[in-house]
Symmetry: C2
Subunit: 214 residues, 2 copies
DNA sequence: TAGATTGTTAATCGATTAACAATC
DNA sequence: TAGATTGTTAATCGATTAACAATC
């Protein structure tokens, strides 16, 4: 219910999980679920689920539980998935183009409007029907005025220069697949960053295996 | 120092971060660092770093700080990066082959020994000099007796059958890029799983952007 | 030795769990 | 109405921070 208090990071980390499990339940044809049934499915506690949801409002009904459609839509709105976010890919190499074809951007409100690279050999090629453009074209006002999010799939060495350029062009939100630390270098610019460190995940797997931590 | 007490998940999540930052410091030529200097670099507190490290032992020296080489090597050992882990890729589609060429598996002790698929059209092709084999060949004892880890890059629908087959062949550790929930379906088999949900990360970015949560 | 910084204990803060009145 | 289950407050548990003696 409290709109004012800061929502903890642990809660925010669980929101996509809720979204994922509720989407699954919905596609299985379920219409309602209680906090305790959802807790069983997600390996959480019913109390935790109710506490988490009540950071944002009351989405259930006493004696009934939660309407899955309504809860899913509500969580989607909390996550901002209902808002259109114009998005560009920076770096159309192997990783970048694989991401573009692998992730359902549009389902989450991300609208892919451009792909940029600095490699003359691939500029002009198409990925998912979008032509790869020279990154220099980004500074043409008509191209960048509505860009909300940039996906960074460039080499670490190119990062500082490229991100400086992107910020100059008004982009403030980054999905960062490089290991370059944006937070530390550009915090002053009030940017929003989500880093994906795949090797961190692989190291965690190594830890779990080594320490039999199932 | 305590070897017996369970290490919290929050600490384990930070271990790869320590590894990453220490690797960076080392490559910049640094030889020692204090907990407070490392805290500044990583945006943590000195207390937290010392508490985290002391879950595993005392790696520093009073009045001096931490030797970067020694600490990095120690954290690598805690994570099990020094142990050889024979690894196969299941599913040599776009995502699988991109991962194979994008991640430095060998640096983390993962030794890629095979790539498997069930698509006749790509069996026989090579990815990173490794020939794609028919997944049926996995049950030949000589092929699977030393497999420690499987990377799952297959469609969700194929997951249950494939994982059942892999477990039957003695594989117990999975790096899972599908959205199929292994923990729920195979927990009884004492398997170790690390799930990568890229869309969860994208949803978190959406949340941060929408809620100006920098 | 004096200064610095660790390892570790104690204090605080925050998150999870338990309990229950409200209510559908 | 009676049963079920939420929203919310209180109790517990765990993680982070602060403090400081040990010691390099």
């Amino acid at each position: 219910m409290s709109k004012s208090m800061k929502v903890s990071n642990l809660v925010i980390n669980r929101l996509p999980m809720y979204h994922r499990f509720l989407t699954e339940l919905k596609s299985n044809g379920a219409h309602k679920i209680s906090s305790s049934a959802l807790a069983d499915t997600m390996h959480l506690t019913a109390s935790q689920i109710r506490q988490d949801l009540n950071c944002f409002g009351g989405f259930g009904q006493q004696g009934y539980g939660y309407n899955i459609d309504f809860l899913l839509e509500s969580i989607g709105r909390i996550l901002g998935l209902d808002q259109n976010k114009n998005t560009i890919l920076i770096g159309a190499g192997r990783l970048g183009s694989t991401l573009i074809s692998h992730i359902s951007f549009s389902e989450l409100g991300f609208n892919l409007t451009g792909i940029y690279d600095n490699d003359k050999n691939i500029i002009g090629n198409k990925v998912n029907d979008i032509e790869i453009q020279d990154i220099k074209n980004l500074s043409i006002p008509q191209n960048n005025q509505n860009v909300d999010v940039a996906i960074l799939c460039i080499p670490k060495q190119a990062c500082h220069e490229t991100v400086t350029f992107l910020i100059q062009n008004g982009i403030k939100t980054f999905w960062n697949f490089t290991h370059y630390d944006l937070q530390i270098n550009f915090l002053k610019d009030c940017i929003t960053v989500e880093n994906v460190h795949l090797s961190d995940s692989l190291m965690k797997l190594s830890y779990k295996k080594t320490n039999n931590d199932n």
